[in-house]
Structure formats: structure tokens, C-alpha cells
């Protein structure tokens, strides 16, 4: 089931939550809506679900216009950020809910219902907890119940709102891998919202990076990282050094700069130098698998950040106080004129 959003706009009080968005999601794809708080990603998700109605624009499922169709008729599965489980029902009844509220002629018989629910509970590995109540489950378990419940009605689109946001790091990692595996098996068109870049990268086929109600870039993770479309995308996807450069030369100081080169900490090369107006190392922190180096260049406001793997670091053994020369293995350049303050 493909999703097509055309010129969607949504305004709440005086705030423009969505500012004219076009988005095309392919059938069977797992897409992430990635962005900072307030960028409109959750609102967009709810517009797809039918829990919000846009001021403008159309929503199409496989070509069919569903913009004004009520949520209950859209056949969309939604997993809420805080699970929204029915606390007065058991795990089994939660999952069975969507099947029980169907119109009489579409309702499965008792044995059939039991079978389907049990299957789903086994799928999410909660078979033994069928009789428990949500209050008796851990966060990760509740999340899986929410997922099973959404899947029970065999939706053609699965939407997830920051599904792992409320869980601790280890559980989050496990569930992420598990969700990806599930998607590979079931191939339901899925859209999920997150503010965690790592999560988006790990799970999604394509990512829509959003900011202030607009999509800054829509691409697969590889492309986003190596070819960011704007400084915002560049900055949002991780730590980055910003070095003023003049375009006609490879490397220069601040004078005559008319562009900025964005260099990832992994791509920053620091080599000992005897040049006295080079950068000076401020701190070296051992982070376990990598080493993080902060250096200051007299002409730059912000410190330079380099990250090196342990082995590589050992080769040069940089120390605080040392002078270093800067070089970059990879970079992305944006003209100063193009960098609007978004």
C-alpha cells in the first residue's frame, strides 16, 4: 500500500506545524521521519493515520483519496509513543480488541480469534503473558503488546510514533533489531517517527529529515550522510566541524572565506606540527573504543573535534598542548550565501 501526501499543511493555534509537504512512500518500504522536537513529524504521522485532518492537501493510499476518511476506516495500525494499551484488559484482550469490535459479519469466530491472537503473541514473543495486565509488564513488553495489537487487524500501513523512546538503551537496541527483522518478514508499508538519528539509520530504508514543518531531505541513510542537502541535515546527523574555506583553494584560514566545509570528526586528520599558528590540542578523552580529541585553532570560535580509533590514535599519541596540523579526508561544502538560518 503506497502512501502519497500532496501539499499537506497543518496549523495549530498560531504555529505552523506542517508547511506544505509532499511525500511519496513506496509500498512495503520502511520510512523514518527524523527531526528535532517540534518539527512536525508526529503531526504528519497522525495526519496519515486520520487522527488529524490537514488544513490543505491530500492523502492518498494506493491512489485512493482518504484525506477526509475517518481513522477507523483507514485500516492503519498505529503504535503510540506511550503504548496506549487498554489498562483494564489483559494482554490477550488488548490484542484481540481490533478483531472484537468489527462488524458482526466480519468478526472471526471464537476459535479463529484465539488462533490469530496466539499467533501474534508468539510472533512478538509474549505468548506466556497472555493473561497478564499491562500494569504488570515491563516497558519493552508493553511496547510489543502495542505492536501485536496494531498488527492484529492486518493493517496495510503501520505507523509508529517514537516507539522506543521511553525504553532504556539496551532494550531499545534489542527491539530495534527485532522490528527490522519483523519488517523484513512481513513487508508492511511502515512509517516511524524518531528524533534519534542512530535509530533512523539502523531501521529505515529511506529517511525524511524534517525541520520546522518541512522536509529538508528525503534519501537513504548512505546518501544523507555523504551528500547532505543542507547544513541543517548535516548538523542534525551528528557532530560535525565547520571550517570556513575559500572556494578557490583547498584549505585556508578564515580570511577570504566564502564557504564552509563540514567535516565529520572521523574524517578530521590531526598530525603533529611545528607550525606555531596551527591548532593546539586541548583535551584527549578515552571513550573506550575510540578516542576523542578536542583542539583549538586561534581563528575559530568553536573547538575542533576529532575522533580516532584506538589503534590509529596509538600511532600518533597526541597529547594536550601539542600543536597539530589539520587535514580532512572527506568533506561537504556549502557556500556561505546558501546557509540560511534555518
Amino acid at each position: 500500500m503506497s502512501i502519497e501526501l500532496t501539499d499537506i499543511a497543518y496549523r495549530y493555534a498560531d504555529v505552523i506545524a506542517i508547511d506544505g509537504i509532499d511525500l511519496s512512500i513506496e509500498s512495503g518500504e520502511l520510512l523514518a521521519l527524523l527531526g528535532p522536537s517540534g518539527c512536525g513529524k508526529t503531526t504528519l504521522l497522525r495526519v496519515i493515520a486520520g487522527l488529524e485532518f490537514p488544513d490543505r492537501g491530500t492523502v492518498r493510499f494506493e491512489g485512493r483519496d482518504v484525506t477526509q476518511v475517518a481513522a477507523r476506516k483507514r485500516h492503519v495500525g498505529l503504535v503510540f509513543q506511550h503504548y496506549a494499551l487498554f489498562n483494564h484488559l489483559t494482554v490477550f484482550e488488548n490484542v484481540a480488541f481490533g478483531l472484537r469490535v468489527r462488524r458482526f459479519w466480519r468478526r472471526p469466530r471464537r476459535a479463529e480469534l484465539k488462533r490469530r491472537v496466539s499467533e501474534l503473541l508468539d510472533l512478538v514473543q509474549l505468548g506466556e503473558l497472555a493473561r497478564r495486565y499491562p500494569a504488570q509488564l515491563s516497558g519493552g513488553q508493553r511496547q510489543r503488546v502495542a505492536l501485536a495489537r496494531a498488527l492484529a487487524v492486518e493493517p496495510e500501513i503501520l505507523l509508529l510514533d517514537e516507539p522506543f523512546g521511553a525504553l532504556d538503551a539496551r532494550v531499545r537496541g534489542e527491539l530495534r533489531r527485532w522490528l527490522r527483522g519483523l519488517h523484513d518478514r512481513i513487508h508492511v508499508t511502515s512509517v516511524f517517527v524518531t528524533h534519534d538519528q542512530e535509530e533512523a539509520f539502523e531501521l529505515a530504508d529511506r529517511i525524511a529529515v524534517m525541520n520546522k514543518g518541512r522536509i529538508e531531505q528525503l534519501a537513504d541513510p548512505q546518501t544523507l550522510y555523504t551528500q547532505p542537502a543542507s547544513p541543517f541535515v548535516c548538523r542534525f546527523l551528528g557532530e560535525v566541524n565547520e571550517l570556513p574555506v575559500a572556494l578557490h583553494e583547498r584549505w585556508t584560514g578564515v580570511r577570504d572565506a566564502d564557504a564552509i566545509a563540514f567535516v565529520r570528526p572521523h574524517d578530521l586528520e590531526l598530525t603533529p606540527s611545528r607550525n606555531t599558528d596551527a591548532a593546539r590540542i586541548e583535551s584527549v578523552r578515552d571513550l573506550g573504543a575510540t578516542v576523542r580529541i578536542e583542539a583549538r585553532h586561534p581563528a575559530l570560535l568553536a573547538p575542533l573535534i576529532g575522533i580516532q580509533e584506538r589503534g590509529r590514535f596509538a600511532e600518533n599519541a597526541l597529547e594536550p598542548g601539542q600543536s597539530v596540523a589539520i587535514a580532512a579526508r572527506q568533506w561537504v561544502i556549502f557556500r556561505t550565501g546558501d546557509i540560511t538560518s534555518r
Partner: protein, 285 residues
């Protein structure tokens, strides 16, 4: 009522302060709450149990009890339905004039019961245009049961709504939205998701509404005309008996009301306890 928080020993009030405050509090409670409660029953059985029984089973008392129950049976369900509808409206939707609506719901709380009664007398009484029309058609509202029902409904109007609104506000509508995405229709969502969620709060509100409906005095007093055996509710009957210096009988009927009050308190505690237990834990893991 939760158990007191565990405060570290550093935060315990000094012993002298504790004793002082406790003494004052207990004396206050004894004088203003316990004593009157005991007095009601004390005066009721002053002249022995037989007189007590006779007082509560005589014809006028029985008709007063019947009327009181009838009025409650009408006004409480009506106010409950309204309360649920209003709470849903206010907590789930935004619309202009919402604040005004909420204030209007609180209105009967601010209005003295006597004024409430007076209002209905003005509206339906003999000297108003509506009133004379009613008399011409031999429809009795004031000084008859319908008037009492109306006045009681007015006075107990806000109870259920006021109980449900903060509850539903705090609960949020996520479960209902989830039900929608799972394909539930409006009524299905209401019976399967909303009602179970608000169950105990609703019970709480209904109990309060009921207690007030039965005990209402001021408004009913103005509206009923005090016609013994016909338009006397229990509270009115109590007052009449007392004013006739028939103290024992007055307290006998009053004791029934006091028993109801105690039952209300007991159920209130029970429901309150259940409400807190039913509240879902917020995700800790």
C-alpha cells in the same frame, strides 16, 4: 487517601509539635464531627427503641421516604447522563465558549439552594405568565413533585461532571484514539474503552450526587409548600417535626439520613481506594 510518605528522620516534626497539633486536630474533630454524629443517634433513641421504630414507620414518614427516593431516582440518572456527555465534550474537544460552559456547570455550586428554589417559584409560580398557564391546564409544578424534582436536579447538577472532568483530563484520550485506529466505532469505543476507564470516578460522582439529592433541604423547602404526606421530603419532614417540638421523632427520621450519610462515606472511601488502585502505573522501565 494515601499512606503518609516515608519521610526521613531528619524531617520528622519535633515531638512537642506533633503532640500539640495532634491534640488540637483531634479536639476539633471530636467537637465538630464526632459529637454531632453521636448526638443524632443519641436523641433518636432517647425514648427507647419502640418509639424510634414507630417514628420511622408512620404514614407521613413513609411517604416522605418514598418521595425522597423518587426524586433521587429521577434526578441522579439524569444528571449522570448529562455529566458524562459534558465531561466528554469538555475534555476531548476544543471549541470557543468552552470556559463559559465549564463555569455554567459550576453555577449551581455557587447558588444558594434557597435561591435555587426561589428561581423555580418565580418561573412556575402563580404570579408568572407561565404559572397561570399551568394552573389553567391543571398542571402542578410548584408545590408538587415535579417542582421538587426540578429543584433537586438543579442543585445536584454539577456533581458527576465535576468528578469526571479532571479524571478524564488526566487520563488523556490516547486509549480512545488507539481504539479508533483499531476500527472501533463511536459507541463501541465508549462502552469498551471509556466507561471502564472512568468507572470508579463515575461511581464516586454518582454517590455524591445521590447523597446530595436525598439530603437537599433549602431548595426543596421553598418549592414544596411543605404539604405533609404529599410534598414532604425527608429533610423537610425532619425540620417540621423538630419545629413541632417532637424532637425524638425528628431525630429518628434524621438518623435514617445520618445512616445514609455514613453509608455514603463508607462507599466513598471504598470507591476512592479502588480508583487509586486502578490507576495505571506510568512506565518506569
Amino acid at each position: 487517601m494515601n499512606a503518609p510518605r516515608r519521610h526521613s528522620t531528619a524531617l520528622r516534626d519535633p515531638a512537642w509539635l506533633r503532640t500539640l497539633l495532634l491534640t488540637i486536630a483531634l479536639a476539633f474533630v471530636a467537637l465538630f464531627l464526632v459529637l454531632p454524629l453521636i448526638a443524632v443517634f443519641g436523641y433518636a433513641i432517647e425514648k427507647g427503641f419502640d418509639v424510634y421504630l414507630a417514628s420511622v414507620t408512620d404514614e407521613d414518614a413513609r411517604s416522605a421516604i418514598r418521595l425522597t427516593l423518587l426524586v433521587a431516582a429521577i434526578s441522579v440518572p439524569a444528571n449522570t447522563i448529562f455529566g458524562v456527555a459534558a465531561a466528554w465534550l469538555i475534555t476531548r474537544f476544543t471549541f470557543s465558549g468552552k470556559n463559559l460552559l465549564v463555569s455554567l456547570i459550576d453555577l449551581p455550586f455557587a447558588v444558594s439552594p434557597v435561591i435555587a428554589g426561589l428561581i423555580y417559584v418565580l418561573l412556575f409560580g402563580a404570579q408568572s405568565s407561565l404559572g397561570s398557564w399551568l394552573i389553567a391546564h391543571d398542571i402542578k409544578i410548584i408545590f408538587a413533585v415535579p417542582g421538587i424534582v426540578l429543584a433537586t436536579t438543579f442543585v445536584t447538577f454539577p456533581f458527576v461532571a465535576r468528578e469526571l472532568i479532571p479524571l478524564m483530563q488526566a487520563q488523556g484520550s490516547e486509549e480512545e484514539q488507539a481504539a479508533l485506529t483499531l476500527g472501533a466505532g463511536g459507541w463501541s469505543m465508549f462502552w469498551r474503552v471509556v466507561l471502564p476507564k472512568i468507572g470508579w470516578g463515575l461511581a464516586y460522582g454518582v454517590i455524591l450526587c445521590n447523597a446530595r439529592a436525598i439530603g437537599e433541604f433549602g431548595a426543596v423547602s421553598v418549592v414544596s409548600g411543605h404539604i405533609r404526606g404529599v410534598t414532604n421530603t425527608m429533610p423537610l419532614h425532619v425540620e417540621i417535626l423538630y419545629n413541632e417540638y417532637n424532637r425524638t421523632a425528628a431525630f429518628a427520621v434524621a438518623s435514617l439520613l445520618a445512616l445514609l450519610a455514613l453509608a455514603t462515606l463508607a462507599v466513598k472511601q471504598l470507591v476512592g481506594w479502588r480508583m487509586r488502585r486502578a490507576e495505571p502505573e506510568h512506565d518506569a522501565a
